[in-house]
């Protein structure tokens, strides 16, 4: 398993989850967990995904997701999960 975190932030609107999930589906990326909150009107979605079966490189995936974000007017980032484990778990 190659876990990564997809974070989506921006103004809440219809279809954010749909668009991002569709892109992940098209890139054969499995969603393991989703959490979503609205903080001060700012939409924040965190998705933990598995890149194991994704055929493309990390950079290509990141580029596509960022483009999807641009189209719907939110920021979409993807980061390897190791970063968060390193910082918050001993």
């Amino acid at each position: 398993m190659q876990k990564a975190l997809v974070s989506v932030t921006g103004q809440d609107k219809v279809g954010i989850i749909a668009k991002v999930s569709t892109s992940l589906y098209e890139q054969n990326i499995n969603i393991l967990e989703i959490s979503q909150t609205i903080l001060d009107g700012c939409f924040t979605m965190l998705m933990i995904v598995d890149l194991q079966e994704a055929p493309r490189t990390f950079q290509q995936i990141a580029g596509t997701l960022s483009e999807v974000g641009r189209q719907i007017g939110v920021t979409v980032n993807i980061q390897r999960m190791e970063l968060f484990a390193a910082m918050h778990r001993i």
């Binding site: 980061q79 970063l83 968060f84 484990a85 390193a86 918050h88 778990r89």
Partner: protein, 448 residues
């Protein structure tokens, strides 16, 4: 399982608090490149560097994108050149500069010498070549170790460096004397420092190694905002926890970079390295502790605690900590320090006191262009004495900006920032500096 608030904390550190990995520095041994002539040595060094470091920038960029943490600089350090050079070290200098450009790193360190006890013929020649080299190369940096706790202070080297720094300033006068920013004069130089301009690949190091320097003054400042008014016990604990988190990311990057480059991971340098960006300042951390500006009474105590807590938090987060580790206080590279110097709250004398407890020394300080060489040598000697007696690394990177006087400003651009010209005490010390010789190593018992 990692909680959502932890994930968001990390994202905020990167997006809003300027957290970054300051540098991945590959250290390369060049001792085996020493040939019959400097030209052949230069060719061999060029070949070795471009072979070993060809993937450094790509690996750095890959990690940056995968982790989402900026890795600001990719750099190289090599064996002090005076160990492989002869009559024409400038030939090697040009090869190193070229190699750095060709592999895409922004700086390469190691054009220097270890002469804390005395100098070799090659070291003398290399020292004399510095003004020409630092005014005609782009990426090359260097350092000279003039003192150590075990051998004392080489005052001949100190005197010569005062003059060399003046000469570099003159030769780069049309670029605000920027050449001087590429030369560091050390006492107790460390062999595995990844930060420039003082990085070099020490003789005790392996063939090739990857060292990582972390940063994050903005993250510490933000964490302290949450404990305003609390006693120092709480402040100390907060800094420690934050330093731990920052260093963990440095460790991850270092391990991963080493694996991908096929070279051993050396150390994580757990430094708080500021940039001129607002919100990425060590001086602002001191301000957050309750000082109006860096330089106000209490500054040395605040910095001492900050420096110690960064180390205490960081050591547990990494398998190998080294380099210069601590809080850097460069003037031109820290917006809070610039403001304090411009307001005359921060003087060179106060900075000198601060260097007794910070990670390195007098760094990126611009002084009037007409400062005599011996005055600069005197400043170097004072700083070296602090390092030698207190068994710590100290350094001087000082820029006598040609044509500028106290109160003017110099602008170096980018991460090197800008700086107000600081006033220097110019009472005469010629007879002191002209003595030359060596100040003996200090006693290590009867410590008072």
């Amino acid at each position: 399982m990692i909680e959502a608030n932890e994930i968001l904390q990390t994202i905020h550190m990167i997006q809003e608090q300027h957290f970054d990995i300051r540098t991945i520095t590959m250290g390369i041994n060049l001792l085996d490149c020493r040939k019959n002539t400097d030209t052949e040595t230069a060719e061999c060094a060029y070949e070795k560097i471009t072979r070993l470091a060809r993937n450094l920038v790509r690996v750095g960029c890959d990690l940056e994108s995968e982790l989402g943490v900026p890795i600001v600089n990719k750099r190289l350090s090599v064996t002090p050149v005076s160990m492989i050079s002869g009559a024409n070290p400038a030939a090697i200098a040009r090869a190193l500069d070229q190699a750095a450009g060709d592999v895409g790193v922004n700086l390469i360190g190691g054009y220097g010498a270890l002469m804390h006890k005395g100098s070799t013929i090659a070291e003398d020649i290399l020292l004399e070549s510095m003004p020409e080299v630092f005014s005609t190369t782009n990426r090359l940096c260097g350092s000279v170790n003039v003192a150590s706790t075990r051998s004392g202070i080489n005052m001949d080297a100190v005197r010569r460096l005062g003059a060399i720094i003046k000469e570099i300033a003159l030769r780069t006068a049309d670029a605000e004397s920027f050449g001087c920013a590429k030369l560091v004069v050390f006492a107790n130089a460390v062999e595995d420092n990844p930060f420039m301009a003082g990085a070099f690949h020490g003789v005790g190091e392996p063939e090739c190694v990857v060292n990582v320097g972390v940063s994050g003054p903005g993250v510490v400042q933000r964490a302290l905002e949450a404990v305003r008014g609390e006693p120092f016990d709480v402040v100390a604990e907060t800094i420690k926890r934050t330093a731990f988190k920052i260093t963990r990311v440095g460790e991850l990057v270092a391990q991963e970079a080493g694996k991908r480059l096929g070279v051993p991971f050396g150390i994580v340098d757990l430094s708080l390295a500021p940039t001129p960006a607002r919100g990425d300042s060590v001086a602002y951390i001191l301000k957050e502790m309750g000082l109006e500006m860096a330089g106000a009474p209490g500054t040395t105590a605040a910095l001492a605690m900050l420096n110690d807590m960064v180390k205490k938090g960081g050591v547990m987060a990494s398998s190998h900590v080294g380099g210069l580790s601590g809080a850097f206080i460069p003037v031109s590279e820290d917006i809070g320090m610039i403001e304090a110097a411009a307001a005359n709250c921060l003087t060179i004398e106060k900075l000198e006191a601060m260097t007794c407890v910070c990670s390195v020394g007098l760094d990126m300080i611009a002084i009037p262009g007409d400062t005599p060489a011996n005055t600069i040598a005197g400043i170097i000697a004072d700083e070296a004495a602090i390092g030698v007696v207190n068994n710590k690394t100290t350094a001087v990177r000082i820029i006598p900006a040609v044509g500028k006087k106290a109160g003017d400003t110099v602008n170096f651009g980018g991460l090197f920032g800008f700086a107000p010209i600081m006033k220097v005490n110019t009472f005469n010390n010629d007879a002191f500096i002209q003595r030359g010789g060596r100040i003996p190593a200090p006693l290590h018992s009867l410590r008072n």
